[in-house]
Subunit: 474 residues, 2 copies
């Protein structure tokens, strides 16, 4: 037998541990499979007879026979009647990187760094996520759900949540929302993916996106649905509707309540012009209603959707109000688009997780959601005031705009300033700043502007951070 196994005696490869509690057959099988997968037993190699192998391992012959049969049925071994059992010829390349325990192929190139202040936008405060409320809501959902709720659900989303969300949006966002217009989705990214898919089926593939704005995200989503995206300029009153009209797009994605990232509120006359454009061009407006809950000086501007429910798809999410990690949001669509959106959602993932949906419905119904929003409005309001005060002191001639809502604002540097140089110098000092150029289609750094997010940046960090970079901002 030693002759047959010149390179690798299977007895030497197998280490049975009689104290492990794991059945010997299972140990033998796992170790043999491993030896074949990793190439320690190679194609064509002949295995000992079950009798010999059993004797040398000190196990019952049936154990080896069962193990051979299992690995034969999985394709690792071959056995013709009357001849020996051999390792199958899998002709698989030695897959170094795929072997269990192999080194990590692509280690994260950016290990997290500890900043004095990081003014990233688009992330809410992660330290005040209402964990207890959410746990309560999930427990309620899991405890009270009927058995049928554990099946595949309605691809539009849980009926309770759609009712609660429609009512919430009517009350808080002035929307004209009926539960049958609501499709629950996994947040803004999925919302536009599904909307673009539904619109592409009607030949509406040319999508306008605000410039500056989320140009990369919208472009990728449009292209995934077989379309294209065109940037349309935003000025102090919001999107330029004449330029939109000239773009020949029949879809536009925008942020009327608090433009991302300039912070501009879409002016009333622009609202009218936009809806008139949509009527004239038979177009669809996709409203990203991302942070309107957080308005400080006065109450939030109502959703555009309420003005033209047949022309507007409004996308909302709890990413800013609760936490991005929950991946829950909704689309409120014109009735004529709901079926196509639902089909897109069904094809994408057969619907959102039910318990998470029921939990969100409970959270809103119970008043805990509103209470959390009130608490956060106070928190963000204090940060906003701290940012404004710190900048006023550090750089009194640098105007700060877009502060009416949400948790970011724009600082307008002097015209001669070099946006990129300021960011680089601040990073050297441990403060992370973000330039407007990233959000412009041209990537131009002029006019030089910084987008200050304060959703996940404490008052103390804001003060310390601004103090450290004060001279850079003047």
């Amino acid at each position: 037998m030693a002759v047959e196994w010149s390179n690798s005696s299977p007895e030497l490869l197998i280490q049975l541990d009689r104290d492990s509690g794991e059945p010997l057959r299972s140990q033998l099988q796992t170790q043999l499979r491993d030896a074949i997968q990793t190439g320690r037993l190679s194609a064509g190699e002949r295995l000992p007879s079950s009798r010999d192998f059993a004797r040398s391992l000190g196990v019952a012959r049936g154990t080896v026979q069962d193990c051979y049969e299992q690995l034969r049925s999985e394709g690792y071994l071959v056995a013709q009647t009357g001849s020996a059992t051999r390792v199958a010829d899998l002709r698989v390349e030695p897959a170094e990187a795929t072997a269990p325990g192999a080194p990590i192929p692509t280690p994260d190139p950016h290990p997290p760094r500890r900043w004095i202040a990081d003014f990233a936008s688009g992330v809410p405060d992660l330290g005040t996520v209402p964990r207890d409320d959410w746990t309560w809501a999930l427990r309620e959902a899991t405890r009270t759900a009927p058995n049928a709720a554990f099946d595949y659900g309605d691809p539009r989303g849980d009926a309770d949540l759609r009712t609660v969300v429609a009512s919430y949006l009517r009350r808080v966002r002035g929307m004209s929302a009926h539960p049958h217009q609501v499709v629950v989705c996994a947040g803004f990214a999925q919302g536009i993916a599904l909307t673009f898919r539904a619109l592409a089926d009607r030949g509406m593939t040319r999508v306008a996106v605000e410039d500056p704005g989320p140009i990369g995200t919208v472009t990728r989503a449009a292209e995934a649905a077989g379309g294209t995206a065109v940037p349309v300029a935003v000025d102090d009153s919001g999107i330029d509707v004449d330029a939109l009209d000239a773009s020949s797009a029949r879809v536009v994605v925008l942020t009327p309540a608090h433009q991302w990232p300039t912070g501009v509120v879409l002016a009333p006359e622009r609202r009218h012009a936009l809806i008139a454009w949509a009527e004239r061009r038979d177009a669809v407006i996709v409203e990203d209603d991302y942070d309107a809950e957080f308005r400080y000086d006065r109450e939030p501007v109502g959703s555009l959707q309420g003005l033209a429910p047949d022309r507007v798809v409004t996308l909302g999410t709890v990413s800013k109000s609760l936490a991005p990690a929950l991946r829950l949001g909704w689309a409120v669509a014109p009735v004529h688009l709901v079926e196509a959106l639902t089909a897109a959602k069904e094809a994408a993932d057969r619907g959102a997780p039910t318990l998470d949906q029921v939990a969100l419905a409970r959270l809103i119904e119970s008043g805990r959601y509103d209470r959390h929003l009130r608490r956060m409005r106070a928190l963000y309001g204090a940060r906003r005031d701290a940012l404004a005060a710190a900048l006023r002191e550090a750089a009194p001639h640098v105007p700060l705009t877009g502060l009416a809502a949400g948790f970011h604002a724009v600082a307008h540097l002097p015209d001669r300033a070099d946006e990129q140089a300021v960011i680089a110098a601040a990073a050297e000092r441990g403060v992370r700043l973000y330039g407007m150029s990233t959000y412009r289609s041209t990537r131009s750094s002029h006019p030089p502007q910084l987008v200050f997010g304060f959703g996940n940046t404490s008052v103390e960090e804001i003060r310390d951070g601004i103090a450290v970079v004060a001279d850079l901002l003047r």
Copy 2:
């Protein structure tokens, strides 16, 4: 003033409730907005001056002014300096079906019916979902997560869960799985959507699907990625690899451990032929590993992926092991495909919900997942035995196949039987049966076969149901 308001005096439209606790301004604003949205106040109508309106409502003038200003900024009202405030001309069609409270546009055409037995496949037992374990796991996840876990996560999925899943699949499914090959997704539907998207980017758009099999689902997913699907016949040894080769597809979706819906196990020689095909054609095998945990006579057949980790994408899910409503699954992909899959997942929804992922990791790590599977194996095993016994008694000459694993089996009716007539007659008697024809590309009812699912059908229902239709099956 009565003259100006001939049709609709706004005072008559507004009902302020001074005991409601809701601020009067908010009440006034909501009701005015509603009146405009529903057309009770129409375009161009002139509103009373804030002074007159305030007096007639008995509120402060500032309340009306604030309300006018808010509705102006939302676009519902227009006001030129020095002239009256009017209702904006929105030119929106009266949207009957979209108005809040309007009748439901599409009521569900199939209200749930109470069956003596429903032999639907593909759904696990919904009455034994481990609610307490899941609540425990979610609470652990929410309680112990660091703040950063509430941010947008890694689009590949939570690092802990990917490690736990890779280790589980190595141990239980004989896979060659490294955490860096795992992309967490929302179940099989999303798994194929992402995989097809990643493969389409490499020009691999022609997808073979088992026939009988999930032809509709796979076809829709292939088309959504710009491709096509071709059915390839399944015989008693699994998919016909020669026919697959002739199909010129470079992607195949299959269920090697327990073919859906025939229940056939892919024979060892077919496993080898399939992998040889993939090597020769530079093709990718998508393995739907959907119910292999539930094998009764012997241990589960190991995953095909372990034999050829560079050629196979294995899709798994908790839809059968825990509940479909959780919408959690994974793709284990060759290293060279992981980046494209991750990009597809990021574009689709920016990653799965984090807490659900962490909860699943805890459930597996704690041994609760294995314990649940053991319990369910016993439950399904008893149902399987009950089905076999009931059919043996009711229709001794009708063979039942595909019983080795999972929770469905196939009854082969006599050749002269009319599959559709049997199903219709059984429905008359309150028993819901399912024909193989649904899963065939030709929709042919020959040979006549019934697919009996027993995942969510109790032993009692199985016995009662078969007894009621016994004479139809002979």
